[in-house]
């Protein structure tokens, strides 16, 4: 039996968008998109229609995460089908607009690929975020990017959790990819973080161009971290946090956290240990924007995903 029968033939991925400023204080993506809107030479590729786009311009202007509500949680079916009336939250209006321009979400007219550029205060390094374990195009793309970036590490975070998954801006596209690079404070542009994100995108667009030109990508496996659980800070009855991420856990994104390891340090000096039964791999440790979302860190487990060979379907 020829191995060619195991090649998945996928539609051409022609329409690609690069979103910056989904959060108005995450500066790498904002700076890159503004730069490319002015001069797109760096992102042009044969066979691709690439649109750099600022998702939340009002938040960008104020250098704040959002105006009324988090845009990156706003792409729910309820919001996207809400009638156009006065008094709609700014980001809900914006989500509907983005869905019209780049969607509609779930339809065959939707954009093929959206890269959504983010920064985090957590020490996650370069991270690619996937929402599906079965999107072969995306799996092959992240495999390509990881290889191209080596020895610089690119971690892959998979959020397919039925309750913890959320309706992202990029979910409007057929193949959504989140790029998350940290650590970087909100409102700050660090050169090394900026250049890492720029390089990741370069490789991503190269992959896309190769794919569209007919290149076949052999079967591959991808090491991923699958989202398990959200861990909140200990809080008092008024909802104020009573402890901080422990110094032994701070900055240790992607490293194993075992039962009995220090997790939090209270303001009066007491250590709180992790009591989970299994080893987990925490990420998004001490992300500034997640204090209000009741999230000190997210636990993940390691998994290896397999992807078939892929190539563009012949017309």
């Amino acid at each position: 039996m020829s191995s060619r029968t195991n090649v998945s033939c996928l539609h051409e991925a022609k329409r690609v968008a690069i979103f910056g400023g989904t959060h108005g204080n995450e500066m790498s993506g904002i700076t890159l998109v503004n730069m490319w809107k002015q001069n797109s030479a760096e992102i042009e590729r044969n066979g691709l229609l690439i649109k750099p786009f600022i998702s939340n311009p009002k938040a960008v202007e104020k250098c704040t995460r959002y105006i009324d509500t988090d845009l990156n949680r706003a792409f729910t079916p309820e919001n996207l089908s809400a009638p156009d009336v006065e008094g709609l939250l700014y980001e809900v209006q914006r989500a509907k607009e983005i869905n019209r321009m780049f969607g509609h979400k779930g339809s065959s007219d939707a954009y093929d690929v959206i890269f959504d550029l983010h920064n985090t205060t957590s020490n996650m390094g370069s991270t690619l975020i996937l929402e599906s374990s079965t999107d072969l195009f995306n799996l092959q793309m992240v495999h390509y990017i990881k290889k191209a970036m080596a020895p610089h590490t690119c971690s892959v975070l998979l959020n397919e959790h039925p309750q913890l998954k959320y309706s992202t801006t990029r979910s409007v596209a057929k193949h959504p990819i989140g790029l998350e690079v940290g650590p970087q404070p909100q409102g700050v542009l660090r050169s090394n973080v900026f250049e890492s994100m720029r390089t990741i995108l370069k490789h991503a667009l190269d992959f896309n161009e190769f794919f569209n030109s007919g290149v076949e990508f052999p079967p591959c496996t991808v090491d991923v971290f699958r989202v398990q659980e959200r861990m909140d800070y200990p809080r008092d009855t008024n909802g104020n946090i009573t402890a901080m991420v422990h110094p032994h856990l701070q900055d240790c994104d992607w490293e194993p956290l075992n039962r009995g390891d220090p997790m939090f340090l209270t303001f009066d000096g007491r250590t709180i240990l992790y009591e989970g039964a299994n080893t987990v791999y925490p990420t998004f440790i001490n992300e500034a924007a997640y204090y209000e979302k009741q999230q000190a860190f997210t636990t993940t487990c390691r998994e290896i995903l397999a992807a078939n060979a892929i190539r563009k379907a012949f017309k």
Partner: protein, 309 residues
């Protein structure tokens, strides 16, 4: 140098949350407010959340930067209900902590701040004759946390009138909106050591004089910007990023343009950069500040309870 006698430091103010997203000071002040004074403390401490509205929203300020509302003009301007919140608040704080003649008069004020820059622990004083601040700096070298200790002389900020001595305690790096336990612990220890110094001083201990390195602000440097749009066109160079208080020589890299070009420091004098890439300073047009270092001699210091204030 002749020893100097100073009056007792009877009342100290510790302020957190002057900027509502600089969390170490906010959480430290909250912890200090939980501990009720029982009247046996050797020094009376007033603990203040300077900008509680901004702290609640976790933003630097609500309408205008509180730390710029302490000029003579701002403190004497007429305010009404429609004035910016921080203008009203600065006058309230001035009334609470400032007036010398009142029973509430504060002798020393310590304003707690965080920065996204890699400054370590930094005491900021507003006068180059602030001997108390320099003595406290010497004392803080006992800290177990491995932070560098420097003092800068800068324009007066949170500065109620008539305070005898004041300084800001700035600790970085910490992102705004985040509390890092190591930073919190360093701030807690720094404040504790400052209190210990004051108690020892008040109880008659003589503090030997000596020499302290002081960094005096010379100028600010802005990012390179597009002449039409005013948008920044470069980031702080990776060779300069995080190198606060490391000497910058003429010709050293300063910015890495998005185009790939390196921009170098063109000044004639080697200076010390600090507040490199502070998040709140983009809107103020400051990428970094430059300072000159000098050794300042401080006199021996002791209390004289009869010394007038």
């Amino acid at each position: 140098m002749k020893a100097v006698a100073m009056p007792t430091v009877s009342r100290v103010a510790v302020c957190g949350g002057t900027h509502g997203n600089e969390l170490a000071g906010i959480y430290l002040v909250r912890e200090m407010l939980k501990k009720r004074a029982d009247g046996t403390e050797p020094v009376s401490v007033v603990t203040v959340m300077s900008n509680s509205r901004a702290a609640q929203l976790c933003v630097r300020y609500v309408e205008t930067d509180l730390n710029r509302c302490f000029t003579r003009a701002a403190l004497s301007a007429p305010v009404s209900e429609t004035s910016p919140y921080e203008m009203i608040r600065s006058q309230e704080l001035n009334a609470l902590l400032g007036p010398k003649a009142s029973a509430q008069a504060v002798d020393l004020l310590c304003d707690l701040h965080n920065t996204t820059a890699n400054t370590g622990l930094c005491l900021i004083t507003y006068s180059d004759h602030d001997w108390i601040c320099l003595h406290i700096c010497k004392h803080l070298k006992h800290m177990q946390f491995p932070y560098m200790l420097d003092i800068c002389y800068a324009k007066a900020y949170l500065c109620p009138t008539s305070i005898l001595f004041l300084s800001a305690m700035e600790i970085g790096p910490q992102p705004h909106g985040v509390v890092r336990s190591a930073i919190f612990s360093a701030m807690q220890e720094g404040v504790q050591l400052m209190m210990d110094w004051i108690c020892q001083f008040n109880s008659g201990m003589l503090f030997e004089g000596g020499w302290v390195d002081v960094y005096t602000m010379v100028k600010n440097i802005d990012y390179p910007r597009d002449s039409e749009t005013h948008v920044i066109t470069a980031a702080v160079h990776p060779d300069l990023q995080d190198r606060d208080f490391c000497l910058l020589h003429p010709g050293d890299p300063m910015f890495l343009c998005f185009s790939g070009e390196t921009l170098r420091y063109r000044g004639k004098e080697a200076l010390y950069p600090f507040f490199i890439n502070e998040g709140a300073y983009y809107e103020k047009g400051v990428a970094l500040s430059l300072a000159r270092k000098r050794r300042v001699q401080i006199p021996s210091w002791f209390v004289n309870v009869d010394e007038p204030k």
